[in-house]
Amino acid sequence: MSVNRSDLETGLPPVDASGLPDHLAESELRESAARERREKLRLFLTNWQGLTGLILVVLFFASAIFAPWIAPYEPNTLDVPSRLSGPTWEHLAGTDQLGRDTLSRILYGGRVALKIAAIGVSVALVTGLILGMIAGLGPRWLDSLLLLVFDTVRAFPTIVLALATVALTGPSLGMVLAIVIVTSIPQYARVARTSTLSLKNSEFILAERSLGAGMTRLLMHHVMPNVVGPLMILAAMDVPVVVTVEAGLSFLGLGVLPPTASWGTILNEGYLVIRDAPWMVIAGGIPLILTTLGFTFLGEALRDVFDPRMGKGR
């Protein structure tokens, strides 16, 4: 019997697959592919968390991409006379010390977050996928070696590693990106490796081999499509982590450089004027929270719908 988390979270009681006559359960599943896809979509859309997540994520992307069109002001235009203005109709989220519009800076800051998230997560995902498959399919010594490397990288608390690196190189967006990529590769690689290992021993890979399928074909046609799914879900859950790392480092002054607006630098500047302009740390924190909520909800909903057995939490 398996408890399906999606059912729990959609308010349905757990479905009992064995109490339910399995032949029946199967015939249900067999009904038709299209129906099943519709079913998944329905499950996803009726899951309020999934829907909320989707909306928030779309907002995240849209606001970042269209920031130049929707931002009421240029993010770096100074307007010193109206500095540290509270929220008004002219400046919905107030202004900072140089009179820059906080809302506009938040919108533009989303572009930095998007850049970090998109580049960081995709590079880490692809590298992790490749390394994980190599570890899963390669010889045992290579697997052990890669595992050891993954363990080592994971042994560094992210921020601590970032601090150590920045101590030597100085802060920059590129450095943040590099750290984010390096520290998130192991988790993708481990998931990819685990899936690859279980796939490697699965009957269908053996069946493909028995038909004469070569390594390339096995990897590209049979292993990869099955590994990518869980990794995509992981990636969705990883976006907020990455965005938060950037924000945290920028908050410490070790991330992107001014005047570039990023949520971290807004928080940093906001922290410095927290007694004069408390709205800056509040306004700067909200997109971070919403993005985290959005991707977490979306990732969990995707996982529940497509892969209810995947590991929870990290």
């Binding site: 339910l20 006559p21 079913e39 028995s210 499509p225």
Partner: protein, 686 residues
């Protein structure tokens, strides 16, 4: 021996009009509809049915342990004065484990892995506050001893994973009987076990029932087990009881067409070896849809128009004996129904084209000789740490075997016998350490994949798990045509090929666009066959071709395979643990035990006159679906030893009733008898 039916024992538990629904995202599944039958005191009642019949749901419903989405929609279950369906949770809890206890299907998953047996059994006795912990332990040890666990006072402190499968099921029985319940429910108690183990558990249950004078309900799909063990039988189909009665009535005078068909499909009941097995066409109905008429009507050979519209009557023949069919009573009564037992009521597909002319014996398609396969069990470092000298086990040991074109060879063995490894080694999926594998006279053992690849067109494999052996993200069409792509065969219209193959394996065209998880076991199996056949191979290695299939549909696959063999002159190596099935399709049998072939010969001869004691145990180990042919003793005891502890002498010596000192000291070599049979036994049976 069955008890005298005339004793008319009192009813211990009475199920009346029980209905259960499951709420699923796809709608309500009416899993049980209006189930009624009594369970009489002191008897062993069997509930038999195929998957989807709802037989296990009955058990969970009466314990009040349906899953969260299950819901009892009607009926009552009388247990003494109480109605279990409407009892409160505390009352039910008082009954569970004390008055009604359960033996579970899969002892691997139904015993908590992180607690010792002692702890688990003490927990079961928690309602006995006047017993001291020591006394509880003594009771548990005693019960473990009673179910045949050696050294119970030591083993009680072990965890489930320390026990072998059979031992674990014995422990499960001990736990269930610890409190001395009035009613013991057993849910598929032997399904997870090997044949030789199954026989032991059946006898254990029988003995204990007698000794403790308990009432037992056994749920099973295994007709042989039901016939051997039960006094009363309830036959279920798609959530309904279609027939119930005493065991002899059911097996010798089945009234319902489904019961009849089910019995006829059981290969163990069929004496003639025809290479064709009977089949019930069609599928179990969708229970989310509104139902009308007889639930079995869509698949029934004798269905009348009325069957599809009107609910058939329950025709009673005596106490707790009834059948639900229009043919038996009322206006549609058919006096010729049921026909005599020797008349077949279900079809066997079209008549066989007959066996093709066999190629000459001296020209084998596949010839395996003295093949050895070893697996590494511990890493070099760990071996040194533990002081182990031997880091490998012999999965396959000195195996010689041949398959001629057009011939079907059955490779039979229990789990862990190395039969699957052997099949994979032949196909170069597993490396072998020594020996030779020749295909059409060419040495192919450990051939590099590059050179071996062209040969894969001639040799194909069907894997054990029908769905699991299909790449999950590929459509059936892509799967079927993949062999062409792998071998770079151009100039074929892939769509046309896909349709041709689908037709060949009788898979409806719309299925081509489906994905593996959208297929039933039987359909997926057909896809597997189509893939194997795509490139017109000469040899097919089929690993458990009927695994996971119900009795009523396994014939379809076997018949299909037989037809294809007749048509293309294929050689088959069929790997299976299922003796009754293989008996119908194999020309020759090879019996494997612990990686060695212990006996090999023509199927009929092997069955009629086993030479090796293990073969005899296997043949006798299959429970006969005939209550008049119950076994009185179990020919072998114990379990297949682990490959790690391969005996020094004959591998079977530890369990062989005829073993002598020589057997324990010296490994018997293979001997060819004058009639061509080969065996490995110091003291072959006459």
């Amino acid at each position: 021996m069955p008890k005298d039916i005339l004793e008319a024992p009192e009813t211990l538990l009475d199920i009346r009009n029980l209905s259960v629904d499951f709420r699923t995202p796809r709608g309500r599944v009416k899993a049980l509809r209006d189930i009624s039958f009594p369970i009489r005191k002191g008897r062993i009642v069997g509930i038999v049915g195929e998957s989807g019949s709802g037989k296990s749901t009955v058990l969970w419903a009466l314990l009040g342990l349906l899953a969260g989405n299950g819901e009892v929609t009607g009926g009552e279950v009388r247990f003494g004065e109480r109605d279990l369906l409407h009892a409160g949770e505390p009352q039910l809890r008082a009954i569970r484990g004390e008055e009604i206890s359960v033996v579970f299907q899969d002892p691997m998953t139904s015993q908590i892995p992180v607690l010792t047996y002692g702890r688990q059994m003490r927990d079961i006795l928690y309602r006995r506050p006047n017993l001291s912990t020591a006394e509880k332990r003594r009771m548990a040890v005693e019960m473990l001893g009673k179910v045949g666990i050696p050294d119970p006072d030591k083993r009680i402190d072990q965890y489930p994973h320390h026990f072998s499968g059979g031992m674990r099921q014995r422990a499960g029985i001990a736990m269930a009987l610890l409190t001395g319940p009035q009613l013991l429910l057993a849910d598929e108690p032997t399904t997870a076990l090997d044949v030789t183990m199954e026989a032991q558990i059946i006898h254990l249950l029988q003995d204990l029932q007698k000794e403790l004078d308990a009432t037992v309900v056994v749920v099973s799909h295994n007709l042989g087990l039901i016939a051997e063990l039960c006094d009363d039988v309830v036959v279920m189909y798609a959530g309904e009881v279609v027939e119930a009665g005493a065991v002899r009535e059911i097996f010798h005078n089945a009234q319902h067409p489904y019961t009849r068909a089910l019995l006829e499909c059981d290969p163990a009941r069929i004496d003639d070896v025809s290479r064709k097995l009977p089949v019930i066409p069609g599928d179990i109905p969708d229970l989310t849809r509104p139902l009308s008429g007889c639930i079995y009507a869509p698949r029934c050979q004798k269905a009348l128009p009325v069957c599809r519209e009107t609910q058939p009557p329950d025709v009673a023949r005596g106490e707790m004996s009834l059948a639900r069919c229009h043919l038996l009573d009322g206006p549609h009564r058919d006096p010729d129904w049921p026909p005599p037992p020797d008349v077949m009521t279900v079809g066997q597909g079209e008549a066989s084209a007959g066996k093709p002319a066999r190629a000459k014996r001296d020209d084998p398609l596949l010839e395996v000789s003295d093949l050895n396969v070893q697996f590494e069990t511990v890493g070099p470092l760990r071996a040194r740490l533990k002081g182990l000298e031997k880091r490998h086990v012999d999965a396959v040991l000195d195996v010689s075997l041949s398959v001629a074109p057009g011939e079907t060879v059955g490779l039979v063995g229990e789990s862990g016998s190395g039969k699957t490894t052997l099949g994979r080694t032949v196909l170069n999926l597993v490396a072998a350490q020594s020996g030779s594998v020749r295909f059409e006279g060419r040495e192919i053992r450990n051939m590099p994949e590059g050179r071996f690849k062209p040969l894969r067109r001639d040799m194909a494999m069907m894997f054990q798990d029908p769905v699991g052996s299909l790449s999950p993200r590929k459509s059936v069409r892509a799967l079927i045509t993949e062999p062409f792509q792998i071998h770079g065969i151009t100039g074929v219209d892939l769509d046309a090929e896909a349709e041709r193959l689908a037709e060949m394996v009788r898979l409806p065209k719309p299925f081509l666009s489906r994905y593996p998880h959208e297929l039933s076991g039987g359909q997926a199996r057909r896809v597997g066959v189509a893939r194997a056949l795509a490139l017109n191979p000469k040899l097919i290695i089929a690993d458990e071709p009927t695994a996971g299939l119900d009795v009523s549909v396994q014939g379809e696959i076997l018949n299909l395979m037989a037809d294809l063999q007749a048509e293309h002159g294929l050689g088959y190596l069929i790997i299976t643990h299922n003796l009754p099935v293989v008996r119908h399709i194999a020309d020759r049998l090879a019996i494997m035990y612990l990686g060695r072939i212990v006996e090999e010969g023509r199927t009929a001869e092997v069955f009629a006159r086993p030479v090796h004691p293990y073969t005899r145990a296997l043949v006798e180990g299959v429970p006969q679906p005939d209550p008049d042919r119950r076994r009185v003793h179990v020919s072998i005891s114990g379990e297949v030893p682990s490959l790690l502890n391969r005996p020094k002498g004959c591998d079977f010596a530890g369990r062989c009733p005829l073993a002598q000192d020589r057997c324990r000291a010296e490994k018997p070599s293979h001997v060819t008898m004058p009639d061509g049979r080969r065996h490995a036994c110091h003291f072959p049976l006459a």
